[in-house]
Amino acid sequence: MVAKVLMYGNTAIGEAAIRAGCQCYFGYPITPQNELTEYMAANLGRRPGCAFVQAESEIAAINMVHGASVAGVRTMTSSSSPGISLKQEGISYLAACELPAVIVNISRGGPGLGSIIAAQSDYFQATRGGGHGDYRTIVLAPASVQEFADLTMRAFDLADTYRMPVLILGDGMLGQMMEPVEFDREAPAVPPVRADALRGASGRPRKIVKSFTSNPADLEEINWSLYRRYQVIKEKEPAADTFLTDDAELLVVAFGASARIAKGAIKEVRAGGMKVGLFRPVTLWPFPDKALRAAAERVKGILVFEMNMGQMIEDVRLSLNGDRRIDFYGRPGGIIPAPSEVARVIARHYHQQGLK
């Protein structure tokens, strides 16, 4: 039997990473994700064959990830919004070199130093590549501590399958929240090493991992080959979760912490007889467009709720091809609205759209 333990979202990521076989963690302190860095220092750093380094900067940390990934091991870094900005060059290099890695963003409010309170203003940065060049990263958006654990393990598997960086986009609310969580994997005694690891040319021809391409025709081919892989991911990996959508007249679309708050709000308005359901993208890239189209088909109204000024709403519009009215409710300053407040917004939309 698997025992349930009470954990913070942030520490659940750490434990899940270790159980997924993460061998090297590199980080730099930033609130609200420090519990994860501290957990790795205490629980990964002295494991045989593993390494924890508190880097001198986020830039150094992501480049250490680059090195560890080249050496063939599962590796991770975590940070929060301003730190992720600094990692973007490194993430672009990982994408270009086709190196797997897991990057956690326990986001806060921005732009600039912003606030340390949970916000969702890094959606564009996470889903549009973020760094320079034509590339994508898979982005997973958990909404509970259990999902922090499950999606962390999934992130490592996806990173290896598609040989690319995978982002986990959490936020300060979920990261610092405690919930029971269970793990269905044991940490491997000996962490696995990828077959394509760079460890010296012993018994094989030497290998070069690089992104510089002096021939533009070669670069085009590399970019097309990345594109083809992204198309496969778009086909196979979109994931979404729904809540009470079967009879819904109004569909709320929200991810991460917002989805969680929306769920509470929906329970409240359902008690008042309003038929409202929730659509929650679990993968933000690839965005679950087909599932959203299916869920939106029968509803009369759509309300997007985000803790930002409206970023995911663009993907909702793209998915629905602009032929639907889509309303928005956003809180861009790090203020986390209570479910009752969101319930009032939902109720207002419900009535304004003539739904009963």
């Binding site: 830039i59 480049n63 250490m64 560890a68 070199c97 030497r206 690089k210």
Partner: protein, 247 residues
């Protein structure tokens, strides 16, 4: 007849893209010789960043991973921590190691990372067309110090090796040059020792190599070699800067 000079085993057949008189090719050759003589080729991983030497992997026949500009020491740290049995060396220009990558380098040295730095100091940014580097000498003209480097505007040449020597994790730091046969022999000895420090698991090692860039110095090859002796070594004196190996 005994063969006393031949192409090193791990030097590829590709033609160098370096300018005539450039020091990069000489250092490449030395690295290839050491891979063979020290028997480390099978577990060596090189980390070259952007710079004239970005194509080092075309010539030195070992595993290579290119790093982002300045990040060699961090990438090397990641490799070495993941795979402690490898022999990891960074190959960096002065712009790379003493401007954008200063932080990564000092901290890797201070942590005593078991990696070896090869630092080619040619007092300019070569690849991007001869702009001022942190190592550019006072009154030296470059494309971004067209009136000559002036301490009042551009500050002083930076002495990264001396700074690295101040960290407790740095075990062996030496400055050499490749502008004469004598200096080339010394450079090879220094690099051999730097790799040995890594093999002995003692800590961080680095060799700074003064290297002519005739193209961007706008000098003939012979003049550039002379300039290393007459001007560069005044600011960057040759010799061991730190050695705590006791050997």
């Amino acid at each position: 007849m005994e063969k006393v000079y031949q192409r090193p085993r791990y030097l590829t057949r590709a033609n160098f893209h370096y300018c005539p008189g450039c020091g990069h090719s000489i250092v490449h050759r030395i690295v290839c010789e050491l891979m063979d003589e020290m028997n480390i080729h099978d577990r060596a991983i090189g980390v070259p960043p952007p710079g004239c030497s970005v194509f080092a992997y075309n010539y030195i026949e070992t595993d290579f991973v290119e790093s982002a500009h300045g990040r060699g020491a961090a990438v090397a740290t990641g490799i070495k921590r993941a795979a402690p049995d490898t022999v990891v060396f960074t190959y960096q220009g002065d712009g790379d190691i003493s401007a954008i990558g200063t932080g990564e380098t000092i901290h890797a040295a201070n942590r005593g990372e078991r990696i070896t730095g090869i630092f080619i100091n040619n007092a300019v940014y070569g690849m991007t067309g001869g702009q001022m580097a942190p190592t550019t000498l006072l009154s030296q003209k470059t494309t971004t110090s067209p009136f000559g480097r002036d301490k009042n505007f551009e500050g002083y040449p930076i002495k990264l090796s001396e700074m690295l020597a101040l960290t407790d994790g740095a075990v062996y730091i030496e400055r050499t040059a490749v502008n004469s046969p004598k200096n080339i022999i010394k450079t090879k000895k220094a690099l051999q020792k730097a790799f040995q420090v890594q093999l002995d698991n003692l800590g961080y090692s680095l060799v700074e190599i003064l290297s002519p860039c005739p193209t961007n110095w706008k000098m003939g090859v012979l003049d550039s070699w002379k300039w290393v002796d007459e001007e560069m070594t005044k600011v960057f004196p040759l010799g061991v800067i730190k050695d705590t190996t006791g050997k």
